[in-house]
Symmetry: C2
Subunit: 338 residues, 2 copies
DNA sequence: TCACAACGGTGAAACGTTTCATGAAAATTG
DNA sequence: CAATTTTCATGAAACGTTTCACCGTTGTGA
């Protein structure tokens, strides 16, 4: 027993089992091998506590069974859930997830894409807000929420339909004058279609509407944002009476803040003002029974994850659709009348 | 230009630059090389768009600069923040993070640990609730919140001090009779010390206290949990007057639910009952200005992450401490009187 | 001018797999 | 029973790096 090595190699297994290297490889990869050999090899593997070295494997096969996921962060509820479901989908297909939090920093985003070219990963699924991102043609890439070019599939919720749905819901619930509040990127991304959808819905239903959109050109702190929306809302309230009766916020977290503002201003939600957000991530998701934090348009996060992974790994697909929109639903969360 | 390869190898760079393989390697790894050679090699690298193949590198060096992080999920606010800061610490040190969501499933947890032995990662940082987890001696491992054995460092908040702090705070704020509410694991883990600390603090300050601890032996749904706590609270309220004036909940999410219950029962928070949770993750963390969801004992998540990474990667440390407790703080969040 | 050290480029060997051409043995066919 | 096909173990080559012994060049000192 002069076993000086720290870990056993395939060669050691072969010697222990008294078979050749190729045979061990076949047993491990499930290729046809005689029954007797399989037994001997498996016995040797167990005895030596052998594990394949995936770097040698990766070198040979240039497949790593690892996918890089680019995410701005993990603590925003939407990103957190998306990360969770991406991991689930990838794991189910035998892939690992290399998670890269970019803080939406273009430099980091670019660096992670370069990494993929170093064969560290088999592909990339990215939620980025980088206009300049250079994606090499031969690196499989799927984008979430943000279209790049026809070669790169983009997966998103049907944001337009979601905006429409919000308008229709508010109309159904008896609203006459509604507001749309939004912060965010002026980049060409899918969530921006929420506005167009909402506008479309309002027009179709004869709802009068007004939009307050904070430009992201100027650099705004969260305090600035709150202040600007507060001022806007205040300017639409005369003698304690609002000239609006419904609000559609571009995200749930904005809706949550707006709800607090309205209550501070003496308005009741949903009695005086009905409020709809967008995302539908339960912030107490770990407590299944706790509902949504506000009425909301729910993104099918699990489907988005599943579809992204499908598009990335399924190379049997002859053509890759440039844009896949998945259906959203409305969920009651206490900020709209039932 | 008969370049049939998809990606350039070091050999191609060497040929292009008219130098040897070893020289290219040296240039890339910053070993001393003549100025003229460095220039030529870098030029060739740029021209061929060369990137090192990290699988070949990993095979040779048996270092992968990748660390596996085992996390029950990414959507619980505490796990989400921890994941975010772990990624930040690892990135700063030039490491990548392979994120493994285990759903607290012992089988998955074990599988990921095996993976580490396949040289896929240089080490593991794990937040697990698995009593049986087999961790090989020669795989660097750091545990968060859960002690294994003296060989494996465990990093956690000072949960005992946190419990104590909660008791003292409630005492300072004038409470006479307080409750401790807890669900969770009966496993030997650090967060369990919150109870002991709280008890200790109550005794020290002469606070009368009562504990309601839901056993996890029986399988409880979230609905069951809510119902049991609701019944318990109701039994301590007589004619609309509670026989308690303070509550310490083992987590913020429980505190959040309890707050809603109390309000439904006609009690005002914090006027009638003061409420303290544990964790201190801002659920609207992406909105910096929005405060805590309840008054809480704040875990130093960033420090926990940093310390875990330090312990994992710093092999200059002669002895690894078996347990590192990091200081917690109290934060006001509207559920305690100021 | 010679001996010797210091510098640094070279190229082969090695890392642990997978794959493939080879050929021996077993199974099938006429 | 011979001829043919099928099955399947074998071992060498290859994947793209890093490392290291080797050695030519240049610089130094007596």
């Amino acid at each position: 027993m002069k076993q000086n090595r720290t870990v056993a190699r395939m060669k050691d297994v072969a010697e222990e089992a008294g078979v050749s290297l190729g045979t061990v490889s076949k047993v491990i990869n499930g290729k046809p091998v005689g029954e007797e050999y399989v037994r001997k090899v498996n016995e040797a593997i167990r005895k030596l506590n052998y594990h394949v070295n995936s770097y040698a494997q990766g070198l040979k096969a240039s497949r790593t069974y690892t996918v890089a996921v680019l995410m701005p962060n993990t603590y925003h509820p939407f990103y957190a859930m998306l990360t969770y479901w991406l991991n689930a989908s990838l794991t189910r297909r035998g892939y690992r997830m290399l998670l890269c939090c970019t803080d939406s920093d273009p430099r980091q985003e670019q660096e992670y894409v370069y990494m993929a070219q170093q064969n560290k990963v088999d592909g990339i699924i990215g939620l980025t807000y980088n206009d300049q991102l250079q994606v090499s043609e031969d690196t499989p890439f799927v984008s979430i929420d943000r279209p790049f070019n026809p070669q790169i599939p983009c997966v998103a919720s049907d944001n337009f339909a979601g905006g429409q749905m919000a308008a229709e819901k508010l109309a159904d619930l008896g609203c006459r004058k509604v507001l749309f509040l939004r912060t965010g990127s002026s980049l060409n991304n899918e969530p921006n279609k929420r506005k167009a959808g909402f506008e479309n819905g309002c027009i179709a239903r004869g709802l009068s509407y007004e939009m307050k959109i904070l430009s992201d050109g100027e650099w705004l702190t969260e305090e600035d944002i709150e202040e600007q929306f507060r001022a806007f809302l205040a300017s639409r309230i005369h003698d304690g009476k609002p000239d609006f009766d419904g609000i559609f916020c571009v995200t749930d977290s904005l809706a949550f803040i707006v709800r607090r503002m309205l209550e501070e201003m003496g308005l009741r939600v949903p009695e005086d003002v009905q409020l709809i957000g967008f995302d539908g991530t339960r912030w107490l998701a770990h407590m299944e029974s706790s509902g949504y934090m506000c009425s909301t348009i729910v993104q099918p996060i699990e489907s988005i994850a599943e579809m992204s992974v499908d598009l990335l790994l399924e190379n049997s697909m002859s053509i890759k659709p440039p844009l896949v929109c998945l259906p959203v639903t409305f969920a009651e969360g206490g900020t709209t009348r039932q």
